[in-house]
């Protein structure tokens, strides 16, 4: 690898089986744990990026910890034609945050090409997690490039300055508050 290791951005795809994670324009294959590397150019700067795909391991309802190891951003995908994939976002999100606290997440509602009417509905999950949300179609290409760009940018930011466990900080502040009220 040409670049120094710490400059590489690792982006992972996550979500249920067959939500379309792998159906990217690049058509990454899903035979083994799949890794797709390329040099992105963000604001005139070359950034080496590794995209990790699950290779069907999500069937075990859990990923090997190495999948999350040192990841910088996660693209969390559900399928707008199958409710169960939306309901399972909670599980994936929890596993992700347990493994890699504070990692930025982008929530993607994929397969909108099946029925564009779905874009007239809102999906609350992303908003509740404070994550950006995109409607997408890996089939006709809607918003796919944009999502990857956003993921790379968020990943770069996370790599440069990982939040010092912001959530824990907030929680401890809240705890002080609660403590005060109790007394």
């Amino acid at each position: 690898m040409a670049a120094k290791k710490d400059e590489r951005i690792k982006i992972i795809l996550l979500g249920d089986s067959a939500v379309g994670k792998t159906n990217r324009p690049q058509q990454m294959s899903t035979f083994a744990l799949t890794l797709f590397s390329y040099d992105a150019e963000i604001d005139g700067k070359k950034v080496p990026v590794d995209f990790w795909d699950t290779a069907g391991q999500e069937r075990f309802n859990s990923m090997h910890p190495s999948y999350y190891y040192n990841a910088h951003c996660c693209i969390l995908v559900f399928d707008v034609t199958r409710k169960v994939t939306y309901m399972n976002l909670n599980t994936w999100y929890k596993e992700l945050q347990d493994a890699r606290k504070g990692i930025p997440v982008i929530v993607v509602a994929n397969k909108i090409d099946v029925d564009y009417k779905v874009t007239e509905r809102s999906f609350a999950f992303a908003g509740k997690k404070g994550a950006p949300f995109f409607f997408a179609s890996a089939s006709d290409g809607t918003n796919v490039v944009q999502i990857f760009e956003e993921a790379i940018k968020a990943g770069m930011e996370f790599n440069e300055k990982p939040p010092q466990d912001f959530v824990s900080d907030v929680l401890s502040l809240l705890a002080e508050d609660w403590g005060d009220k109790k007394q």
Partner: protein, 151 residues
């Protein structure tokens, strides 16, 4: 001349107010009726909305129910494919792949656009899926219970 801030999501009233404030010599209510301006702006917004709709695959008179996975194919929207056998997943993926291929826009196709970005209008309604989804906001993390704090 473009109208500042005009998008398919704009509120006509706000745009009209902004126009009047910005061009009082031409558009004050003494010169042009507010209702006229309002009508004009509403038309412009409507035009933007319908072209956005066309881009999204056409306008239909009555909204059809949202299509979902085919129960006939051996799975439906509630089937957790993660729990099926490898063969069953392959089969389900095959069924879904038909739609994928049908709607696919590939490099070389006339409609192909490498970086196709579509900004969708603010959704008018919440998905009914949210009725069944309990999401913890990150700030009420279930790892944390103030009662666990012992001093």
């Amino acid at each position: 001349m473009p109208v500042r801030g005009l998008t398919s999501r704009s509120s006509a009233g706000q745009i009209v107010d902004a126009l009047i404030t910005r061009h009082p010599n031409h558009l004050s209510p003494k010169i042009v009726k507010r209702s006229q301006l309002n009508k004009l702006v509403t038309k412009m917004i409507d035009k933007l909305t319908s072209s956005a709709m066309r881009e999204r695959g056409g306008i239909t008179a009555a909204p059809p129910p949202i299509k979902s996975a085919q129960p006939a194919a051996g799975f439906d929207g509630d089937t957790n494919l993660n729990k099926l056998s490898h063969e069953e997943i392959v089969k389900a993926k095959g069924v879904m792949n038909e739609t994928f291929v049908e709607n696919q826009v590939k490099p070389g196709d006339a409609a192909f656009q490498y970086d196709k970005r579509v900004e969708f209008k603010q959704p008018a309604a919440a998905s009914e899926w949210d009725d069944d989804l309990e999401v913890d906001s990150d700030l009420d993390s279930d790892d944390f219970d103030p009662d666990d704090l012992v001093f």
